[in-house]
Subunit: 244 residues, 2 copies
């Protein structure tokens, strides 16, 4: 049974303001919640699930506060269109304050605003072993439920630094790459041992102040007539050529 | 000014049943509507736009029925969260009844259900010069407004055949590739001159009856820990290695 104040609190975590104040966020669905319990159990504050799910996952829930709820209660607290068995409340990660990109490939996001795109990019980074993503301040919030959902659990492994992106890039000494219509063909490039790969905004591309800091333009070869690719798709393609 | 019956008709095109009955669909926003007017003007039945947009695009609108509407009217007929200046009603394309994949790369979609994913895959196909996509019957409807939107105009150029996918694949004589956890590394593969690339469902992957017809397994190399990639992202990565 959930009391009204608990329902209100969990609902409020759909809003950035409440997440900032409480230092908590939510993750939903069997796949993501299981992954959180396995990968970052210390971050999990509470698991609220249907009876069957809690019974089936008793082994994962040792030492975790687990509350049995009804389907009607799950519907109330869920941010999903189709609530899915279980929801977890997690403590936000320790804030990343510094990234040293030397010797690594690092992604830099210049204002990715769509939460689904940001989550998908985090999942792609995790697939290709990218540990760090540097985000301009206008990038979607990592803890937005739609971002968490789209990461499919990769939020547990990839670290994000939110900062003044132009200022951060200006301090770096390694190559800063960005996709452009004319640049070196990524399908024929040598794989770099280190570098920063900038991904631009969904509709506006890379902003002028960031573009000035790009030291190498790269291109995804185009054979057809589409004018552009989705930002997450472009990220996947670039990493599959440069990070494998 | 729009009369009530027009508003109702255009709203009804959000539903597949109405699109099937009327043979029409809608496309929204300046970018997509402009592209439709340039690429497939004969399909455009009606353009409904704000005064400024219609004035600025008078050249594109020659011979097309254009109706000036108010922002309030646009809001009524729009399927977008943020209505955007203009909406077009288009005639559905002539139905594709046959595809001969010999000498080409063709995509085959085994039940892509998310409209955004289908639209994004069509946009990717268009970028890499893929002309044809064969879709299993449970794949999202090409004319769903969310699909049209996500194609960003590529719907004008890529042709889709909806059919019994297993039956169709069984008749083909060329290689049928599908992504699997173990298979030939796409980053080291020779680019094929022809072939069918099967993309599986977002959560269930490739169904058992389709898997039996796959003659070559291919793999996107993984360096990190994410379990899978989004279907559209995987499509983009595979085509960037095999279709360029």
């Amino acid at each position: 049974m959930l009391v009204k104040s608990q329902v209100k609190y969990i609902q409020s975590l759909g809003q950035k303001k409440s997440r900032d104040e409480s230092g908590a966020f939510i993750a939903e669905g069997p796949k993501i919640v299981s992954e959180m319990l396995q990968e970052i159990p210390a971050q999990v504050q509470q698991v609220l699930g249907l009876k069957e799910w809690l019974t089936d996952h008793a082994g994962l829930l040792k030492g975790v506060e687990a509350i049995e709820i009804s389907p009607a209660e799950l519907e109330k607290i869920s941010q999903l269109q189709t609530p899915n068995q279980v929801l977890a409340v997690l403590r936000k990660f320790e804030q990343v304050t510094q990234i040293k990109p030397e010797g690594k490939l690092v992604l830099a996001l210049d204002t990715i605003q769509d939460p689904g795109n940001l989550g998908t990019i985090i999942r792609i980074a995790d697939w290709f072993g990218i540990e760090y993503i540097v985000c301009g301040q206008d990038t979607a919030d990592l803890y937005n439920p739609k971002v968490v959902q789209a990461t499919m659990g990769s939020i547990a492994r990839v670290k994000l630094l939110y900062t003044d992106l132009a200022g951060w890039l200006a301090e770096q000494k390694i190559t800063v790459c960005a996709a452009a219509l004319e640049g070196e063909d990524i399908t024929a490039m040598q794989k770099p041992a280190e570098g920063i790969i900038v991904i631009g905004n969904e509709s506006k591309g890379i902003s002028a102040d960031i573009l000035k800091l790009v030291t190498k333009k790269i291109t995804i070869p185009q054979k057809g007539k589409a004018e552009s690719l989705n930002a997450a798709v472009a990220t996947g393609i670039i990493l599959s050529h440069l990070a494998t």
